[in-house]
């Protein structure tokens, strides 16, 4: 069986090589348009040949290779999950000054978080409400709570069980950006997610 196959491949190789030889010999004599595409054909053959060589190898994958491949796939899957989990925690949702209603982009972000929470039904999340430095510390504590509540209520309305979610307000006590610019303030008016 094996000998027969090898013979077949040898024949193919001979055929292809002679074909190549013939093509390269006839090339300069050929002028008609139809035969201009010959060189690509030759290259295709080359690729085909390489593929076949690979296929030969593939037909004998060791246990070791199979294991490695499985591990690689597992690793890729883990990395992807870790990235999704990291994104769940790192992608804050943002608010306007003195507001706790959800913008469309905040809802878009929350929709992604909803999907993730559905994919991982054991996960529990703490939602932190934060404010920028403007406004009083006391009022901002209450405002931060409303922001966390808004995000939580949205997730619950999307079908996430309330007992998987909890909230805390840090008011303006924990800014991510301590600057006093519009950009810093916008970054600080946020609901941040932490997996428990």
């Amino acid at each position: 069986m094996k000998a027969k196959q090898t013979g077949f491949w040898v024949l193919i190789v001979i055929f292809v090589v002679s074909g190549l030889f013939l093509t390269s010999c006839t090339k300069k004599d050929v002028k008609s348009e139809g035969i201009v595409s010959t060189p690509p054909t030759a290259r295709d053959d080359e690729a085909e040949k390489a593929k076949k060589r690979v296929r030969i190898k593939e037909q004998e994958p060791s246990e070791q290779e199979l294991r490695e491949r499985a591990l690689k796939e597992e690793e890729a899957r883990r990395l992807k999950e870790a990235a999704e989990k990291a994104r769940f925690e790192s992608e804050d949702i943002y608010f306007e000054f003195d507001q706790y209603i959800l913008s469309d982009s905040a809802k878009g972000n929350l929709n992604k978080k909803t999907q993730w929470l559905k994919d991982f039904p054991a996960a529990k999340a703490l939602i932190e409400g934060h404010c920028d430095e403007r406004g009083s510390a006391e009022y901002n504590l209450a405002l931060g709570q409303k922001r966390a509540d808004s995000a939580m209520q949205y997730l619950v309305s999307m079908g996430i069980s309330a007992n998987r979610l909890s909230t805390i307000s840090y008011g303006k006590e924990k800014p991510v950006d301590t600057g006093s610019t519009e950009t810093a303030w916008a970054k600080n008016r946020r609901a941040h997610f932490v997996l428990k």
């Binding site: 003195d98 406004g135 009083s136 209450a142 709570q145 409303k146 509540d149 209520q153 307000s169 006590e173």
Partner: protein, 440 residues
């Protein structure tokens, strides 16, 4: 610890004398002799001269600042006095019982304080008199016997006597204040004398600790801390090390305000998405719901009779001050100028509410009558927040960043005489003036 070890022994004869002088004042002084109208923003400062106290013993008694310097500092703190340099006195040195009133008058002073002291063992015996130079007579006299290291307390007490005699108002000289400071890197509660001196740290939570509020009796501080993970409400005995957690409801447990009865508090809680102010007893049990809205209700402050409650609500769309009638549960809006008015503090006399209102990008302190009307703006330099009244109501403590970082300042309730009182590392926030004297 704050309770004074010091005891005042007033010699019966001098008590009698001070009593007689005090009682005799309305008759012995011309009816038109009004020393100071504290309500007048343009009141002229009273020129007063306080030469060094005379040591009648052999041992120098003062370990720190001299008694005269302390007394000048106290009186100057009020903004009601102009300190005259005693070096301007060109008369002959006074003999006991004979004071050259004319020569003292030439310094430009209207009032003269003369003191003498004698250290006897560990006891300091101090006699202090206040003279009206225009009348050429003593109008106040006291003798104090104190442990020698506590002489500043006798001076604070005499400063208070002077102020009460001249204005009918007690001074803050025997009171303490509390505030938040980031000196250690964390927000912790500190207390200090009325002038920021003798400060000490009261908490060591290594967390976020906020809004200390001194109880009416001065023996407890209510505050919010994240020390156990969430913003819960605690009561700290003063003096004392171990706070009791009184409310840890889901959401926030913030902005405590002592009811005038000293037994209960209004607290902002956020429960199931509803922001509300609850009346809690001192163990944290709800007495009644005071406000409830779908938005934010926060930062309560009781009227002195406990019948009304000022608070902040965004029910109109932006944070504004409202006043709740506690029995009818009706709330009316108090502030209409500006789109961010927060942190109301009701004055002890009931006639004013101080708050912080935003102008441009910064907060300024305002006062307004509880019935409404035109607010009076008191500050203009830097960002100014978190007003609270002194026990007698004629001073306001607040925070300002006018000199860089946020620090604690005081001013008279008409905005005059603004001065910084904390010079600690880090920033200071959220001051509370203890309603009770520590000497009692």
């Amino acid at each position: 610890m704050f309770k004074s070890i010091l005891k005042f022994y007033l010699i019966p004869g001098l008590v009698f004398m001070a009593w007689v002088v005090f009682m005799a004042l309305p008759y012995s002084l011309p009816a038109a002799r009004v020393y100071l109208d504290v309500d007048s923003p343009t009141a002229k400062k009273i020129p007063i001269v306080i030469p060094d106290f005379k040591n009648q013993g052999t041992v120098d008694a003062f370990l720190g600042d001299s008694a005269a310097v302390l007394l000048m500092r106290d009186l100057d703190f009020t903004g009601y006095f102009q300190m005259i340099d005693p070096k301007g006195f060109l008369g002959r040195p006074d003999e006991p019982g004979s004071i050259d009133f004319n020569a003292w008058t030439l310094t430009g002073a209207d009032l003269l304080v003369k003191g003498s002291y004698r250290l006897e063992g560990a006891e300091l015996r101090m006699e202090i008199r206040l003279y009206d130079l225009l009348q050429g007579r003593s109008i106040l006299g006291k003798e104090y016997i104190v442990s020698s290291r506590d002489y500043p307390k006798a001076i604070h007490r005499f400063a208070d006597e002077i102020l009460f005699l001249l204005t009918g108002e007690h001074g803050p000289f025997q009171t303490r204040v509390a505030f938040i400071s980031t000196t250690t890197g964390n927000k912790e509660i500190y207390s200090a004398d009325f002038d920021g001196k003798n400060f000490r740290r009261l908490t060591n939570h290594h967390s976020i600790t906020l809004t200390p509020r001194w109880s009416p009796r001065g023996n407890e501080i209510a505050y919010t801390s994240y020390k156990d993970g969430t913003p819960a409400l605690y009561l700290l005995p003063v003096p004392g090390l171990h706070p009791t957690r009184v409310s840890n409801r889901p959401g926030v447990n913030i902005t405590p305000a002592w009811h005038p009865d000293g037994e209960s508090l209004a607290v902002a809680l956020n429960h199931k998405g509803n922001s509300q102010i609850l009346h809690l007893n001192r163990s944290g049990t709800a007495i009644q719901k005071l406000t409830q809205s779908w938005g934010i209700d926060v930062s309560p402050s009781w009227s002195p009779d406990g019948k009304q409650l000022a608070f902040v609500s965004n029910r109109s769309g932006s944070p504004q001050i409202y006043i709740l009638n506690v029995s009818t549960h009706e709330a009316r809006r108090l502030t209409f100028q500006g789109n961010y008015n927060v942190g109301p503090a009701w004055s002890p006399k009931g006639n004013l509410i101080a708050y912080a209102g935003r102008i441009g990008s910064q907060f300024q302190i305002f006062t307004i009558a509880p019935s409404g009307g035109e607010p009076q703006r008191l500050t203009s330099l830097g960002n100014n927040e978190s007003p609270d009244f002194s026990p007698e109501g004629w001073m306001i403590i607040f925070t300002s960043n006018r000199h860089g970082k946020s620090a604690v300042y005081v001013m008279n309730s008409n905005g005059a005489n603004q001065k910084r009182i904390t010079f600690l590392n880090g920033e200071q926030f959220s001051p509370s003036w203890c309603p009770k004297k520590f000497e009692e």
